[in-house]
């Protein structure tokens, strides 16, 4: 499922004096089967961009192609449901979408909407809850009674239960504790590696980008600045500097060590670094 933006622009409240162009002339291709991180400052158009991916927003101009779906500025798109079945969007603070009496029912809500039978929806819900690490003891609990991190996971399970090919997550780790964040990163990697999902991640946290993403898309003022391989992106110090991007800790550490004369090329993880410094592998 290749994703291709062509000359896509979106304008908020076009008739008002305060009409704002949130994104303009986006030309972008997002690769299948990879984890792509979309980064950029607040207001750079990240959230606007991803809401096009399942046609919650329709472009003001330009087109978006996802496999055989084409989204244009046409007001009444067809096959929306089929598209939303393929592209699952997890919103920022997704825990607010929970509404059913039990967690299991809430997670089964999505698949039921897409036409799965009651039993099948429940089976899918159980599977999705397993993926996010909520065991049987949570099935019958109210989604309003569990902790924030667990709510977040239940909400993500609600999308996973639909089994989309492309999973889009808007700031999935915002407000989670370090452990929750770590588990979340592990979950995305697993979804990508084991279940071969295409993952698109919107985040502020460059640590997460460095650790999990294959590719990085940098947005600024509604335009794509660059799209490249995550490791080479963080190696490009001039680019990072000119866009005021804080480098991940490991890159910073590497820089400090290289300043002292160590040669550390092609090292992208803490394991590699440890080995290069004479530590044991594993």
């Amino acid at each position: 499922m290749a994703i291709k933006f062509e000359k896509l622009s979106y304008i908020y409240s076009p008739d008002m004096p305060y009409a704002t162009k949130a994104i303009s002339d986006i030309d972008l291709e997002i690769s299948e089967g990879k984890i792509t991180a979309i980064i950029g400052k607040t207001g750079s158009g990240k959230s606007t961009l991803i809401q096009h991916l399942n046609a919650l927003l329709l472009p003001s101009s330009g087109t978006l192609t996802i496999a055989d779906f084409t989204i244009t500025s046409d007001k009444k798109p067809k096959g929306l449901k089929a598209l939303r079945r393929k592209v699952g969007l997890v919103f920022q603070f997704s825990e607010y979408q929970l509404f059913e009496e039990t967690i299991l029912k809430d997670v089964a809500f999505g698949p039921k909407n897409f036409g799965f039978s009651e039993e099948e929806a429940i089976a899918r819900a159980k599977e999705a809850l397993g993926l996010v690490g909520l065991d049987e003891s949570y099935y019958e609990r109210s989604p309003l009674d569990i902790s924030g991190g667990q709510k977040r996971r239940a909400a993500i399970a609600g999308i996973l239960a639909i089994d989309p090919d492309i999973i889009v997550l808007d700031e999935p780790t915002a407000g989670l504790d370090p452990r929750g964040t770590k588990e979340m990163i592990a979950l995305f990697s697993a979804l990508n590696k084991k279940l071969h999902k295409t993952i698109i991640l919107v985040t502020h946290d460059n640590e997460i980008v460095y650790e999990s993403a294959d590719e990085v898309v940098l947005l600024e003022d509604g335009k794509v600045v660059c799209k490249q391989d995550a490791h080479s992106f963080f190696e490009d110090r001039a680019l990072l500097k000119s866009h005021a991007i804080i480098e991940p800790k490991i890159v910073k550490l590497k820089d400090l060590l290289m300043d002292k004369g160590l040669k550390l090329d092609n090292i992208y993880s803490i394991q590699d670094l440890a080995v290069a410094l004479g530590g044991n592998h594993e």
């Binding site: 008739d15 809401q51 919650l56 997704s94 909407n113």
Partner: protein, 266 residues
């Protein structure tokens, strides 16, 4: 959802924006009274011209104001039907067996529609051209004299300003929850009755839970800052009438007098 116009402040710098909120509120009240004076077509032309002039000065596109009427179209059609069925005066226009349409039915409906139009136009101008904070400040000042007879002016103003403050937040919240549920396959536009009910429940339950949570947080934040409703307080901003405010008020009162004159002598 983005089409909700009513009550949304538009940040511009026009003469209308700079007017004293008290003057704007008073002028609006005077004009509302003027609208309800039966001054015939001439009167409405005068009013429409006056209000259009204000819209023109305020630099707002007519299209945007027209949008505020859209939700009322159904009501207006309903009104027309009721009037056709009940009013049996004036010239007989159409006579198809049991349906008899009289001229007065049409005229009465038109009168009401024009009145509604003008009223909505006025109130929309007021809320679009005045910062919610200024608006409540104005209301508080205007209610001031009634404090002596036990009207809690400050509390009323505080409640209004909190309510106004949270309208956009709640709309935003609603859009976000709707989008989340759409991603889970909810169709808010179409579907059978049972599906529609589920769709609404999937929106309303989270919305209530978020709103209650927000109210709780706000109450805590206010208490943490030592808010006491009936405390004596001073203001950073004080309101002063200047010449343009008097011009507005005098203009509004002149229009009201003109309407009364038209109603009496025509």
């Amino acid at each position: 959802m983005n089409n909700i116009v009513f009550g949304k402040y538009i940040p511009l710098d026009t003469p209308i924006h700079r007017l004293d909120p008290r003057a704007k509120i008073l002028a609006m009240l005077v004009m509302l009274v003027a609208i309800f004076i039966p001054a015939g077509w001439t009167g409405y032309v005068v009013l429409a011209l006056a209000i259009s002039f204000v819209v023109k000065v305020s630099k707002i596109k007519f299209k945007v104001i027209i949008r505020a009427f859209r939700p009322l179209i159904f009501m207006m059609c309903f009104l027309l039907v009721v009037n056709i069925l009940s009013v049996k005066q004036g010239q007989l226009l159409v006579d198809i067996g049991f349906v008899k349409i009289y001229a007065d039915a049409i005229f009465n409906t038109l009168y009401i529609i024009i009145r509604l139009f003008l009223m909505i136009m006025l109130t929309t101008i007021l809320t679009m051209m005045t910062k919610p904070l200024d608006l409540t400040l104005g209301i508080e000042y205007l209610l001031g004299p009634f404090k002596r007879i036990g009207v809690p002016a400050h509390e009323i103003a505080m409640m209004i300003s909190i309510a106004l403050r949270f309208i956009p937040t709640i709309i935003e919240e609603t859009i976000r929850i709707m989008n989340s549920q759409k991603s889970r396959g909810v169709d808010f536009e179409e579907g059978k009755l049972k599906e529609k009910i589920t769709a609404v429940v999937s929106l309303v339950v989270p919305l209530f839970s978020v709103s209650l949570q927000r109210a709780d947080e706000l109450a805590n934040a206010m208490e943490a800052r030592g808010y006491v409703p009936d405390a004596q307080r001073t203001r950073y901003r004080r309101l002063h009438y200047v010449r343009r405010d008097y011009i507005l008020l005098v203009g509004a009162i002149l229009i009201l007098l003109a309407m009364i004159a038209l109603a009496l002598f025509l």
